[in-house]
């Protein structure tokens, strides 16, 4: 039988901000009775194994989500080649049809004081569903 529950999607790029966003998204998914999909977008350099941040895997975000109270069966790690903003926007369209998109306030590559490269602001402008931008509240526990 198909799981009819709604989906919350959170972007994850390996940064501390993204991990805070996963913790918040897990709490939101619990409250909504939703499944959580953690999405990592693979850029040009990471696809070629040339990224400065190295390989990003799902171990840490999945651990964070479970620690927030989600059943491991309700958390999915999803890797997609693409631009982070575009990848998350597509998650708001059918068939995924996420009801909520969650991101950290600044990603791994973004610079404070500029709108350039800001996935969160791009999402807030273009997403057809609510977007939550989670500020970093200190190193996740």
């Amino acid at each position: 039988m198909t799981d009819q529950r709604v989906v919350v999607v959170v972007g994850y790029d390996g940064s501390d901000d993204a991990r805070s966003a996963v913790a918040w998204a897990a709490t939101a998914a619990l409250a909504l009775g939703a499944r959580l999909r953690v999405v990592h977008a693979v850029g040009l350099l990471e696809h070629a194994g040339m990224a400065g941040h190295g390989h990003v895997d799902g171990v840490l975000p999945l651990k964070t989500a479970v620690e927030a109270g989600l059943d491991p069966a309700d958390v999915e790690w999803h890797v997609v080649d693409g631009d982070p903003c575009g990848a998350l926007l597509r998650m708001a369209e059918p068939p995924e049809s996420a009801v909520l998109l969650v991101v950290g306030s600044r990603g791994a590559g973004a610079h404070a004081g500029t709108l350039l490269g800001s996935t969160s602001l791009e999402l807030a402008e273009h997403a057809p569903v609510p977007v939550t931008i989670v500020p970093r509240s200190g190193p996740p526990g």
Binding site: A51, V80, G109
Partner: protein, 346 residues
């Protein structure tokens, strides 16, 4: 003999992300090795290049984005995203790269003959109206195309880079004077370029995406352009043909998994040249291509095919996957065009 107009190389000293980054200044040396290997001597003309003006850039980029990029560079630059960087002089490099495209078209116009090649850094086809990404700051081919549509001319852009040119697609999404045709590996960055992305209500069918699976060989790419895109390109009847000629679909390139040889690019160039309406209306803009060796041989093969010059390129490739997918995607594409027409109404 047909003249080769070269507008570049640019961006060698101004824009350097460090030795780890594949989009590096040494690419220009490889490209120019390919040009020299053609042995054209007096049949090469180097067009004088000026920096594109704000007005020329603003045809495709928002003034707010341009101001932000300029200010970011003036503050010293940095990493815009995990792929894309800017340095203090990158704003200059971006304006010069776009200006090179404009210079190439102006020189072709003045001569009334020739083929132009625009070897520039940073590349451009991922840059959208208001966003830098995928190594790209300013969309060079879009700036050039918009300079001609502003004169009431129609522009065909063929993009055979291994990555989809999301920026070019988005900029001309609803523009009836531009036909954008792209072959690209899918799935791959930037994630766009599905067959059902066909253009907006003002230009249904004028975006034509031909995604290819990893492992696709030159015969599949050639079929995509020569057979799948041919009717749309013939019907469009362009005044100009611009090519986003990334060479990262080469089998030796580290950023993609297509299997083209340098000889395949020669074949693609011959196909695209069939749609050039008259002499002096074809310009090729360098996009990707990150293996110096295959970059040099691919430039030589591509330009050599157009100018009947250079050595004999490696044999074209064949037998890879993707033919069946092209057929299936055609149906999906036609349905998508119908949907756009239905939404627009009579």
């Amino acid at each position: 003999m047909t003249t080769l107009v070269v507008a570049g190389p640019t961006g060698i000293a101004e824009h350097d992300g460090g030795s780890y980054h594949p989009e590096q200044p040494a690419r220009m040396f490889a490209v120019m090795d390919g040009v020299r290997a053609l042995g054209l001597d007096d049949d090469v003309v180097y067009a004088p290049v000026s920096d594109a003006t704000h007005a020329e850039l603003s045809r495709v980029h928002s003034p707010a984005y341009l101001a932000e990029l300029e200010a970011f560079c003036a503050r010293g630059g940095g990493d815009i995203d995990p792929d894309t960087y800017a340095r203090p002089d990158s704003w200059l490099a971006a304006r010069r790269a776009a200006g090179a495209g404009l210079a190439a078209l102006a020189e072709l116009d003045r001569r009334g003959e020739g083929v132009a090649f625009v070897p520039v850094r940073p590349p451009g086809h991922h840059a959208t109206a208001d966003r830098a990404m995928g190594f790209c700051l300013v969309n060079n081919v879009a700036v050039a195309a918009a300079s001609r549509t502003a004169l009431g001319e129609r522009v065909l852009i063929v993009d055979w880079d291994v990555h989809h040119g999301n920026g070019t697609q988005a900029i001309f999404w609803d523009d009836p004077d531009v036909l954008y045709v792209s072959t690209h590996q899918h799935p791959l960055f930037p994630g766009t370029g599905r067959p059902d992305e066909v253009g907006g209500p003002g230009a249904p069918g004028l975006t034509l995406n031909l995604p290819l699976p990893p492992g696709a060989t030159g015969d599949v790419v050639r079929s995509a352009i020569d057979e799948m895109a041919r009717p749309a390109m013939e019907e469009f009847a362009p005044d100009w043909v611009l090519v986003s000629c990334g060479f990262d679909a080469h089998q030796a390139d580290p950023l993609g998994e297509l299997e083209l040889s340098s000889g395949d690019f020669a074949e693609l160039a011959r196909v695209v040249a069939e749609f050039v309406p008259r002499p002096g209306r074809l310009a090729l803009f360098l996009e990707g291509g990150y293996n110096p060796g295959s970059l040099a041989t691919s430039v030589e093969a591509t330009l050599g095919a157009l100018l009947d010059a250079g050595g004999r390129p490696p044999a074209p490739t064949s037998g890879g996957p993707g033919m069946a997918q092209l057929q299936a995607d055609r149906t999906e594409r036609l349905r998508a065009i119908d949907r756009v027409h239905t939404e627009v109404g009579p």
